[in-house]
Each structure stands twice: as C-alpha cells, then as structure tokens.
C-alpha cells in the first residue's frame, strides 16, 4: 500500500550505508530510479554551491586608491591652512610679533633643534605621558572591571567616574601643587586623575556592549568565573576598551601639558609645556606657536602610530569595519 507513492518512495532501497560523506560530489548520475537524489553526493554538492553563493569575499582596495582617498585630502587641507596662514601674515593683519609667519615658526623650531635640546624636551614629555598612561591603564582597568562586574560598586562610584570625565584635569593642578609641591608627583597625579576615569569608563561601556547571547554561549561551553572573564568578557569588551584607551591617552596628554605649563621649576626636567611657558615669558610668539605645533604633532602621531592600527585591526577582525567605498 505504501508503494503507491512513487514520487517520494522512501523505503528500504536507500540503506544507511549509502550515506557516507566520502562520496564525491557528482550531480545527475547519482540520482536513483525513484527520483530521489543520492543523499550524500547531492548534499555535499548542494552545500558547496550554497556556501559559494552566500559567501562574500572582502577585498582590500589597491594601494593607489588608498593613497588617493586617505592621504591626499589631509595633505591638501594642511597645505590650504598653511597657505591661508601665510596669506594672513603677508597681508599683515596683525603685527608679526603677534602673528608670525609659518617660516618664522619653522626657524624658531630649527633654532631649538640646533641648540640640541628639542629632542630631550619632546622625550621628557612623551616619557612622562607614556609612564603616566601605563599606570593609568593598570588602575583604570582594575577599576573598570570592578565597576562593570559588581553592582554595588557600580551604584557607588559609577556616576562619580562618569562625572570625573567632564572635570577638566587642569583643575587638579593647584591641588596637586599644594599636596606634592613642584615635583614629578604633581605631574603624575594630574595625568592619572585625567586618564583613569576615561579608561575605566571605556571598559565599563565595552562590557555593557557585550551581547547577552555571547555571555550565555560562554557559560554553555564552560567559560565561567575567571575563565569567563578571560575568554568572553575581556575580548568581548575590547572595542569599547580600546576607545577608552584612546580617550585615556588624549586625556593624559592634555593633563600633562596643563601640568607642565603650570608646574615649572628648575628641578623639574623641561618638557613641551615648559617650552611653551618659556616662549610666553619671553614674548616669543614663533616659539609659542612652534611648541603648540609640536604638542599637536606628538598627540596625533601617537594616535596614528599606536591606537589607530590596533583599533582597525580589532574592528576588522570582527567585521565591524565597513570598508570605505
């Protein structure tokens, strides 16, 4: 009575042994007389076809295109700004002791360079910034994990931590000078107070952005407790964490400049902030502008050389980076 269904014909003519996956993916000859395709061969071919149809291959744009789209526009913008600056200088909109031309600034920087002090000044600031940032990284990460993971801690200090971000860290400078005097401790205290909240907040935001599904999946495969933190929580929070680090660096660099600018004393090594203050004291506008440019360049350089590549790499791996078209 079952044999009336010739079109489906599920029956004993298709034994289990014919369904081994090792069979090559042949197409039509694999069909049996009943019209039902041989399962293994047909399935493998079908699946390969579906995979091929559905897979999007991401291609990286050629180098020429990258240069044209990413490098040329900022170069043109900088040239334009320099041109306008030079124009304003040439038209004498302001006396030259107030608005020096680009070449005068360049000469001022060249003079510092020939004095042989400029590299040590930059290094002084960068090494202070880097050391402060590393300490802030450790403190901020611990603090961020505590706030993200423990509800009472979050309730207690979460709002304070976000509030601290909007407090300009230069406001701490007078307090730090009273506490620590004109020492390196003052500078580091200001840098830490500026950077730690950003890093901690970034980590908290990153943890909050983890999909609940990933946390559940982690628990199902056995990533609980510390192993959950290590294998799910931290990698899951990485995008938010990295933007926190970027902001943390920007805040430490800013705070450092504020601290160096205000806390100047012979005992403290000279950094870029002190260079700026020296320029102001001597009414040396080319030097002031040169110092500002250097501060800007160091900030941009570290962002471009360290943070941007790391962030791009993380986002690209997760498919979160849309390639610019």
């Amino acid at each position: 009575m079952a044999s009336t269904d010739t079109d489906t014909g599920a029956g004993p003519q298709a034994p289990e042994t014919s369904r081994t996956p090792e069979q090559p993916a042949t197409s039509d000859p694999a069909r049996t007389q009943t019209g039902k395709p041989d399962a293994a061969a047909d399935l493998a071919g079908l699946e390969a076809g579906l995979d091929a149809l559905d897979t999007r291959t991401a291609t990286r744009p050629p180098l020429g295109q990258v240069l044209r789209r990413k490098v040329v526009p900022p170069v043109v913008a900088i040239a334009l700004v320099l041109g306008l600056w030079q124009l304003a200088f040439s038209l004498r909109l302001k006396p030259s002791y107030q608005l020096p031309g680009p070449l005068m600034v360049w000469d001022a920087l060249a003079e510092e360079w020939y004095k042989g002090t400029i590299l040590s000044i930059i290094w002084q600031s960068v090494s202070r910034g880097a050391l402060g940032f590393v300490v802030a990284l450790v403190l901020g990460t611990c603090l961020g994990l505590l706030v993200a993971q423990f509800r009472p801690v979050r309730a207690a200090i979460g709002p304070i931590l976000s509030g601290l971000q909007s407090l300009p860290s230069v406001a701490w400078v007078p307090a730090a000078i009273i506490w620590f005097g004109l020492t390196d401790a003052t500078i580091y205290a200001v840098v830490l107070l500026g950077a730690v909240p950003s890093i901690a907040n970034g980590l908290v935001a990153g943890v909050d952005q983890i999909q609940p599904l990933h946390l559940r999946a982690g628990r199902v495969i056995g990533a609980t407790g510390l192993r959950g933190v290590r294998h799910v929580l931290l990698p899951g929070a990485l995008p938010g964490y990295i933007s926190g680090l970027k902001q943390g660096w920007a805040f430490s660099w800013r705070s450092l400049m504020a601290a160096e600018l205000i806390a100047t004393s012979p005992e403290l090594g000279a950094g870029l902030g002190q260079l700026l203050e020296t320029g102001r004291a001597y009414q040396d506008m080319p030097l002031v502008l040169g110092a500002i440019l250097l501060i800007l360049l160091v900030g941009i350089g570290i962002e471009l050389l360290i943070f941007a590549p790391v962030e791009r790499r993380v986002l690209r791996h997760r498919g979160l980076l849309t390639t610019a078209h």
Binding site: D7, T8, E16, K36, L43, H214, R216, A217, R318
Partner: protein, 286 residues
C-alpha cells in the same frame, strides 16, 4: 499507511539506534558510561517554572515529564508562550527550576541557539578550539580535533575564516561543530535553523540527520515548525501554551532518509498541526 503511532503516554520505548560511524572526541574522558547506567540522556521530572515576583508569579511550565533516551532525537513543538525555550534553558543549566528535577547523567549538555552565538573575535576554528580547551583537551590535540569537527560539518579549510566572512548556514554549521566539540551526550537545539532561508534550512536538516546518525548524540530540538519537527525527530512532543504542559506525543517511524516534502512527513504534520491548532484555539475560548 499507518507508519505513525499516536500515544499520549510518556512511553520510553527505545528506538532502533542509528549505527554510530565514529566515536566523537577519542581520547577524552567519556561521559557515556554514566548515561548508559542511567538509561536516559536526560530525565525531566515534574518540572515547573514560574517567573515574576512572589505572589504575582506567572506559571510558564507546569509539571513537565520527559525522558530523552540515549541516542534519541526528540523535538519539542509548541506555539509561542509554551515555554519550550525556557525548558531548554533549564536543561542546559542556564536557569533554575521552580519545582521538580532535571537529571542529565552525561554531564553539561551543549546548546545551540537561533543565532550562531559564535565569538566574533575568534576565527571559526578558534571558536571550536575554545570549546575544546574549556573541556580540557590538551593543546597539541586541539587543532586536529577542530579540523575533524569542521570536516564533519563539511567546512574543511574554514579554520582561519572570520565569523563575519561566513554565510548564515556556514555559521550555524560552525556553531554545531562548536557544540559537538563539547563532546556532550546531549545536544540541545533552540530553533537553530529558524533564521535561515528555506533552501539552507533544508540542507541543514539533512546535515543534522547525518551528523546525528554518525555521532550517536541525543538531541532535544525545540521548534515551532511542525514539518521540521516531523522531518527530524524520532519523537515529537507537543507542548500546550500558558502554562506549558506535555499535550501529546507522536513516535515518528518514517524511515530515513526523509525529506521535508515527503508525503508521510506531510500526513503526520497535518495530524499534529490539527492538534496544535486545537491547543491554540483553547486560549481564545474563555
């Protein structure tokens, strides 16, 4: 033709077991003896679950009794609000029962979700290797074992692929491989193919049936799709809604290989759908 059999009792008739082609996870501690001794892969006894504040609780599952035999494929079918996903979470240990007990002698079950739930910060292969690592597989063996599992789901060579580079069907296959990497004797599946297009879903039904017969894993598969339930299962369990109770059970004796368009699948689906509609209709009557 009467290949189907309608029962309302919780019969635990062992089915003709599909021949296991290979034992999974060779060389790692085997949870099978515990399960063989118990005689079931999962036993759900008088399980109830309610949500909400004390005093204003909502009963989601009411006195569920269900056994999954070793190597059996059971589908849990029900309309929305029947608590089928809740039941699966309880079996997976992601949530606690309000009453009753759940025994899974083969250790922590693996669970597949409707979304692939793969970690986007790892490659396809690393996702599988992480599950192996957390299971305690020593490092030198992980790579080869991950390759073997990828081969099992027919994704040879996809080890280094990023999750976002894979299609929806491929992601679910990697997720299946990761679930199998846990080497659990019980695989829980929560509508794993619901978000896929019909062609891909059809292909994955075949894949799942093949892998199930090759690994001899027990499967508890939740779905709201009657045809899917009949296509895959040895036994279909219908849950009523609000609260979820076991309303009916059907043993599916349609021989493999099955197709979702087979007339036997269709016939039984019609019968089950009628029952399901009756269950849903009851909610509009008071």
């Amino acid at each position: 033709m009467t290949t189907t059999l309608t029962t309302q009792t919780t019969s635990k008739t062992p089915k003709a077991q599909p021949s296991p082609a290979s034992a999974p996870g060779a060389g790692v501690k085997d949870a099978r003896p515990a399960m063989d001794e118990a005689g079931y892969a999962a036993r759900i006894e008088h399980v109830s679950k309610s949500f909400g504040r004390a005093g204003a609780e909502q009963l989601v599952l009411d006195d569920i009794n269900l056994d999954v035999a070793p190597g059996e494929f059971v589908t849990l079918l029900g309309a929305s609000g029947c608590g089928k996903s809740t039941l699966l979470n309880l079996v997976a240990g992601l949530d606690k029962t309000s009453a009753g007990s759940i025994d899974v002698p083969g250790g922590r079950p693996s669970l597949m979700f409707q979304e692939h739930a793969l970690f986007p910060w790892l490659t396809a292969g690393r996702n599988i290797e992480l599950a192996l690592k957390l299971r305690g597989v020593p490092k030198p063996e992980r790579r080869a074992e991950a390759e073997r599992l990828l081969e099992l789901v027919r994704l040879t060579g996809a080890h280094r692929k990023r999750v976002h580079e894979l299609s929806g069907g491929m992601r679910q296959r990697v997720a299946l491989a990761r679930a199998l990497a846990q080497d659990s004797q019980l695989l829980l599946m929560d509508e794993p193919f619901a978000a896929l297009d019909a062609i891909t879903r059809d292909v994955l039904h075949e894949e799942l049936t093949r892998i199930w017969s090759e690994t001899n894993v027990s499967v508890l598969f939740v779905t709201h799709n009657v045809r899917e339930a009949v296509r895959l299962a040895q036994r279909v369990v219908l849950l009523s809604s609000r609260p979820g109770r076991v309303a009916h059970e059907w043993n599916v004796d349609i021989p493999h290989p099955r197709r979702i368009e087979d007339s036997e699948v269709a016939n039984l689906s019609v019968e089950i759908t009628e029952e399901l509609r009756g269950e849903i209709r009851r909610h509009g009557q008071h």
